[in-house]
Amino acid sequence: MPGQLLTSVAGGGGYAIAAMAAYLHLRHRSRWVLLVLRVGVLLAIGAGGAYLARALQAHGAVQTFQNSFDAALTLATLIGLVGVGTHLSSSLRGLAGLLFIVAALVEFAALAGLGPPSGEITSRPWFVSHSLAFAVSGTFFAAGGAAGAAYLLVNWMLRRKRAFTLVGRVPPLEALERFGRWMPILGFPLFTYGILTGFCGVAHRTDLRASAWYVDPVFLLSIVAWVVYGYLCYCVMYRPQLRGRWAATLSTCGLGLIVLAFVVREFVSPMHQ
């Protein structure tokens, strides 16, 4: 417990500091701000990575990824790593701040799942892929959603002819669109797989009433998100007129749904806690 608390606070704090530094770096290019950003990210990813490595060693992959806290930490670390990737990319640099905000939220929300791994479903090792699929697809969706939000912001900036001081400091629309186009396409199959394995997992649960699963809010939100992302993928691939601003809006809404589903999973859902 104290280890989880410390990891979550260090990780969430690190990402929050990195997000603030990323914002400041957009406005004032400074070596020190960049240093703070990198130290914050290193602290967060280091804390998360070290905790997960220890948990994997102590409990094995199956128990670790089915544990609520560890699964959330995995998601936050993956999002943080994508954030680092965008920070290092010359064309997506300004996107990192948004991803660090999402990672910080996930780290802090993970506090709701403090506790040792539950042994209840460890007899079905394949079920670990349910958590992993959601973690990886959640990372793709978070990246796509952040790109969508950034696209809307930059688009607004360029159209309203406001905030021109940020011109050249935030990623170009074209790069954001390209990045935002691929993320849902990569995440959607995994998300589908996660939902399907969720169905299978429920079928094996003897402690739940047969009708309980379809009123679970996480399940309902996941289905709504699946429809949204499915439509987004369809638009991206087959409806060029719905690209750009429309796709960015949809991607941002999808991210909102994913974050909501995650929060509900951590705090509300009886089946997922």
């Binding site: 064309s91 159209r159 170009p172 750009g244 601003r245």
Partner: protein, 441 residues
């Protein structure tokens, strides 16, 4: 040492005078060599750009050259009577001169606030003076400090942010929309001067293809030839009747025709986005009256900027730069105080040591003269006499040393230092010695 600067800039003198006083590199080198012959032991750096001519000098406090001699030197070198140009000159001494240099290299004194060229020009001028042997420790320290401050100001303040020309602003906008240009096509409509200037900036992004069109085919062909000649880039002439159709292919359009009516209306544009598969299209309308119907911008894939939009951006950028001026001045003031204090300490340190040694030497020689005559004095008495002499020396020097150690920018420390050197015939100045050494080389 004292620092002097004499010169003129775009604010103090008209371009006709600046032209006459300007130095190209060979002339500057000749002038610096001549300066060295005329004023040995003096350091000098000559900055000459299209907007300013300035001579920075570091010389002993009491010695030449003075401001008038510097004016005479410049006039004599160019063969102009001093009276003809003296009115357009300004001059600064010591702290003011240091502050002026810092303002100049930080481009606070430039015609285009925050421009970066002046720093490079000042560095070149400094290197030229170095190779001419007119840079000693004093100006070396001053210019290195100035370059450091200029760099600090550029990175820590908004003085260099944003573009100040319409052409470069248009390119910034294009870079904000597109992440790469090697797959982009640019179409230029019309042959307006401003349009061509914008195109010049845009060609720096190396687009895949350049198309040009004019209201007659001959004009389009002539424009393509002219662009190829001037910019070394192959441009394809598009018949005017076809240019709207070609909008389906291109990504950036620069328009600067002299048409009284819009050359592209919302109705004409309506089918274009679907044919483009809704790829982003940047339209830069520099013409007055405007070439593109503003309603075109309502389509989400179109980014339309007219001359007012671009000028607004440049004005906003300039306003941001102006807002940063106060912050720049703070940095400069702090640097001036720190630099002057450090240089004063370095300047007076050896002087204080020499002064103390001078007084001690007098005391020692007097002791050596008087002690043999005091036969009856005991060793204790002799020790008391020595201690008394030491105390007297220390008390005599207390006030002068205190004054010399006061390195506040407004204190006449250097005058005190030079006065003491002259009064007691002290030869301690590391700066003048260094400069002499450089000249010998």
């Amino acid at each position: 040492m004292r620092t002097l600067v004499i010169g003129c800039n775009h604010q103090s003198a008209p371009v006709e005078m600046r032209e006459r006083l300007a130095f190209d590199d060979p002339a500057a080198a000749r002038a610096l060599r001549r300066f060295r012959e005329l004023f040995p032991g003096t350091e000098a750096v000559l900055i000459s750009t299209c907007n300013r001519v300035e001579l920075y000098v570091a010389c002993p406090v009491q010695g030449p050259p003075g401001i008038e001699e510097l004016v005479g030197f410049i006039g004599e070198f160019h063969g102009i009577e001093s009276a003809e140009f003296a009115e357009g000159l300004y001059s600064y001494e010591d702290v003011e001169a240091v502050r002026h240099l810092l303002r100049v290299v930080s481009s606070l004194d430039s015609m285009v606030l925050g421009e970066s060229q002046i720093l490079g020009q000042a560095k070149s001028a400094f290197e030229l003076a170095r190779s001419a042997g007119t840079v000693g420790k004093w100006l070396e320290a001053l210019f290195q400090r100035a370059f450091g401050v200029a760099k600090d100001i550029r990175t820590k303040t908004a003085i260099a942010t944003g573009r100040l020309s319409v052409g470069s602003t248009a390119v910034d906008l294009a870079r904000q929309i597109f992440s790469r240009f090697d797959d982009k096509q640019v179409l230029m409509v019309g042959a307006g001067e401003m349009g061509e200037l914008t195109l010049t900036h845009l060609l720096g992004t190396h687009p895949k293809r350049l198309l040009v069109t004019g209201r007659t085919d001959e004009r389009a062909a002539a424009l393509a030839r002219r662009i190829a000649e001037r910019h070394g880039v192959a441009a394809e002439a598009v018949p005017y009747a076809e240019w709207i159709d070609r909008l389906a292919e291109v990504d950036i359009v620069i328009s600067s025709t002299g048409s009284r009516e819009p050359i592209l209306t919302a109705g004409q544009f309506a089918p274009i986005p679907a044919r483009r598969k809704h790829r982003p299209l940047l339209l830069i309308d520099i013409a007055v009256p405007r070439d593109f119907d503003p309603a075109i911008a309502e389509h989400y894939s179109v980014f339309l900027y007219n001359i007012d939009d671009l000028q607004l951006v440049t004005e906003l950028n300039l306003a941001h730069r102006r807002e940063a001026i106060a912050q720049c001045h703070e940095i400069i003031e702090a640097s001036v105080i720190e630099f002057v204090a450090r240089q004063s300490r370095q300047d007076v340190g050896p002087l204080i040591a020499a002064l103390q040694e001078h007084f001690r030497e007098i005391g020692r020689s007097e002791l050596e003269r008087i002690l043999p005559k005091l036969q009856t004095a005991s060793p204790h008495d002799r020790e008391l006499i020595e201690q008394m002499l030491h105390r007297v020396t220390r008390k005599l020097l207390h006030r002068p040393v205190q004054l010399l150690n006061d390195t506040s920018p407004n204190r006449p420390t250097r005058v005190y230092a030079e006065t003491l050197r002259a009064l007691f015939a002290l030869e301690d100045s590391p700066w003048s010695r260094t400069c002499e050494g450089k000249q010998v080389q």
